[in-house]
């Protein structure tokens, strides 16, 4: 650096502008840009605002009719009621039951679907076998078939699956097993329906990792699982986070499968929420309904906040190559 400064001619700076070009904060371009952004932000934020303030008001205050007014007297009673005492039919233990049902559905579904999809995606990306591309194409087509078509066939599949397993368990003296209408039946359904998109995601991610790493692993004597666990997995945190977010939000927000493949005692939170909001017994408690809805949305929201950065990175990484 010393040489460089010594070599500059001793002329100084000439006349005219110098340094960074000034920018006009109120240029038409900026007004358009920020104006649009602010309007869109309000459009999305306003319903949330209404929900939050309503959930913090008592019923008398709600009846005054001004939905945008902030609560005069903040009360958390609607939240407590929504969680623990709101009634759906004869059950009056609030959303808490649905919450735990959802958790018991969510955890195994997420774990099983991601486990299977990651291994499948890894095999499709790195261990190409005869017909692997065809297999992958079939899997992708599965993602485009509207799943309403499969609702009833799956009822039959689950029922027969239960009968099939029962054939053995009864023979072993373990009694009858049911799959349809149980939590595990729903886990199976969620796992299967998550497969196309998750496999695509993992395949593309693993295909984007340098192929020479895989080759080096093979020369070093690592096998299918050795390369997967020791080399690929430690490099794959972002894509696992993406898969986890997709599955957690997807499964948590699922309503249709929950209604169809389970029974009232094990209804997930979304179904329970619907039942609370839609049950007509006397007056409609808007504040409780709002609180219940917010409670139900809390889990995906938290997941996004905690892992948002990794989510973006993973989506971008998975999209590089395909």
């Amino acid at each position: 650096m010393a040489d460089a400064t010594a070599n500059t001619p001793a002329v100084g700076i000439g006349p005219g502008p110098r340094g960074a070009k000034p920018r006009n904060a109120f240029a038409p371009r900026n007004i358009m840009l920020y104006g649009t952004l602010i309007i869109v932000a309000i459009y999305y934020a306003l319903p949330l605002y209404v929900m939050i303030v309503t959930s913090l008001k008592g019923m008398p205050e709600i009846r005054m009719g001004n939905i945008f007014a902030p609560p005069l007297e903040v009360t958390f009673e609607p939240w407590v009621k929504a969680w623990s005492t709101a009634c759906t039919g004869i059950n009056c233990d609030g959303l808490s039951r649905g919450f735990w049902n959802s958790v018991w559905i969510l955890v195994p579904s997420v774990v099983v679907s991601i486990t299977i999809a990651s291994v499948t995606g890894y095999a499709l990306a790195n261990w190409k076998f005869k017909g692997s591309e065809f297999f992958f194409a079939v899997l992708l087509i599965g993602a485009f078939i509207p799943y309403q078509v499969m609702l009833y066939p799956i009822v039959l599949v689950l029922k027969n699956l239960g009968d099939g397993i029962s054939f053995f368990t009864v023979a072993l003296g373990l009694g009858k097993v049911q799959v349809y209408g149980t939590l595990w039946g729903l886990v199976i359904v969620h796992t299967i329906f998550g497969m196309p998109i998750l496999t695509l995601l993992f395949r593309n991610y693993f295909a984007s990792l340098p192929e020479e790493l895989f080759k080096a692993g093979r020369v070093d004597g690592a096998g299918f699982w050795g390369i997967f666990f020791r080399i690929m997995l430690p490099m794959s945190l972002p894509i696992f986070v993406v898969a986890m977010i997709l599955q957690v939000t997807g499964i948590w927000n699922d309503f249709l499968f929950g209604v169809i493949y389970t029974k009232p005692e094990i209804y997930p939170m979304t179904v329970q929420l619907n039942n609370i909001v839609n049950s007509v017994q006397g007056i409609k408690e808007y504040n409780v309904n709002m609180a219940a809805t917010l409670l139900t949305g809390l889990v995906p929201l938290i997941v996004y906040f905690v892992s948002g950065k990794l989510f973006v990175r993973g989506i971008a990484a998975g999209a590089v190559k395909g």
């Binding site: 340098p210 020479e212 790493l213 080759k215 080096a216 692993g217 093979r218 020369v219 070093d220 004597g221 690592a222 050795g226 020791r230 080399i231 430690p234 490099m235």
Partner: protein, 365 residues
């Protein structure tokens, strides 16, 4: 074409009748190659010539369509890469990013369930040879390109194998590091005396490192020979044009009665070291820029009249671009002999170092 039909059981690597198809495309065509123990073979060729593919076949990373691969007297055609007794170094280093340098080097040994003491000893020895002891506990991300490639070489070294495979190991490095590591690989080879198969598209690497160079094109070995022979007596037009920078001068003409005729050029071919010079209506005379000398006196049959067009100063020497009839000719001359554009000169031909090719078959005569 250098086809060794006799199967040599002494060979370190023996490739016999190897064919590889990708779908309908034949990437390697019935290839034979014998590599002697301790030999440094360089596979050289332009992109897509099949040189890396051949290396991957030797490593077992690609399943071949037909033929056999023997390493150290064992048929490894169907063996897993790790069972072939090879170590491999990749262009992108391919270091496991989540492991330390030590972890990278010991990964393969751990997969072999080797005792920890033995692993430590081997890693220490390899680290000493490559002088990377201070880096052992760092992650690859914290290393420079040259250091990474050293570690990658170390990872092959600890395997204690007889055959090393290098897949363009220096291509990702800058020019200075490249020449440093090139020397280091040569030194390593002199020290360990392993068989090395080295893929590159860089002719300097090929000429400096190789005991023998296999020049490839279109999945076929065009010539397999010592660097000096490849350079001075290229087997065909492709090899002649591919090796050497600037490229060999090619003059299209005809051979008749022991003389070469082209437009405005007559050269006596006496002293040519090659086959019998039968008459050919279409032939190509190949002259390397350093095998021509500039003189002021014309000698019939010995010199070519030419006019200087451009004089390029390369620092160590100077490159003269001349026009002789329709032909452009480059000549390497000492810097102090620089000539101005437009000067008429005569170029003296050293026929003992010239090459003559048949224009039809492109093979050296």
């Amino acid at each position: 074409m250098n086809t060794m039909t006799a199967v040599n059981t002494e060979s370190s690597i023996s490739i016999r009748d190897l064919t590889l198809n990708f779908g309908a495309v034949q990437v390697l065509k019935r290839m034979d190659l014998e590599v002697a123990p301790g030999e440094f073979i360089v596979l050289l060729g332009p992109s897509g010539c099949g040189k890396s593919t051949l290396l991957n076949c030797i490593a077992g990373l690609l399943d071949i369509t037909d033929g056999q691969i023997w390493i150290k007297g064992k048929n490894v055609t169907w063996a897993e890469p790790s069972e072939r007794g090879i170590g491999m170094v990749f262009q992108s280093y391919a270091l496991y990013p989540q492991m330390t340098v030590r972890g990278n080097m010991s990964f393969g040994l751990k997969n072999q369930k080797m005792p920890q003491a033995e692993i430590d000893a081997r890693v220490a020895r390899a680290a000493e040879i490559l002088q990377i002891q201070p880096l052992l506990d760092r992650k690859p991300g914290a290393l420079s390109g040259g250091q990474r490639q050293r570690v990658a070489i170390g990872r092959a070294l600890v395997r204690d194998v007889d055959v090393f495979l290098f897949d363009e190991p220096l291509s990702n490095l800058d020019a200075k590091l490249r020449s440093e590591l090139r020397v280091e690989i040569k030194r390593l080879h002199n020290k360990l005396n392993n068989t090395m198969v080295y893929v590159t598209h860089d002719q300097i690497e090929a000429l400096t490192l190789a005991d023998r160079i296999a020049v490839m094109r279109g999945g076929v070995i065009q010539q397999l020979d010592e660097p000096q022979t490849i350079y001075n007596r290229p087997a065909n037009l492709f090899v002649a044009g591919f090796i050497g920078s600037p490229s060999m001068n090619f003059i299209h003409g005809a051979v008749k009665g022991g003389k070469f005729y082209a437009e405005g050029i007559v050269v006596d071919l006496a002293g040519y070291e090659g086959g019998a010079l039968i008459d050919r209506p279409k032939a190509i005379l190949g002259l390397r820029p350093e095998h021509l000398t500039v003189t002021n006196t014309a000698v019939a049959g010995k010199t070519i009249a030419a006019t200087v067009e451009i004089d390029e100063n390369l620092g160590a020497d100077s490159l003269l671009w001349l026009k002789a009839g329709d032909n452009q000719i480059s000549v390497r001359i000492p810097v102090e002999d620089r000539l101005n554009a437009g000067t008429s000169v005569h170029l003296e031909v050293d026929m003992s170092k010239a090459s003559i090719f048949d224009a039809e078959t492109e093979a050296r005569v």
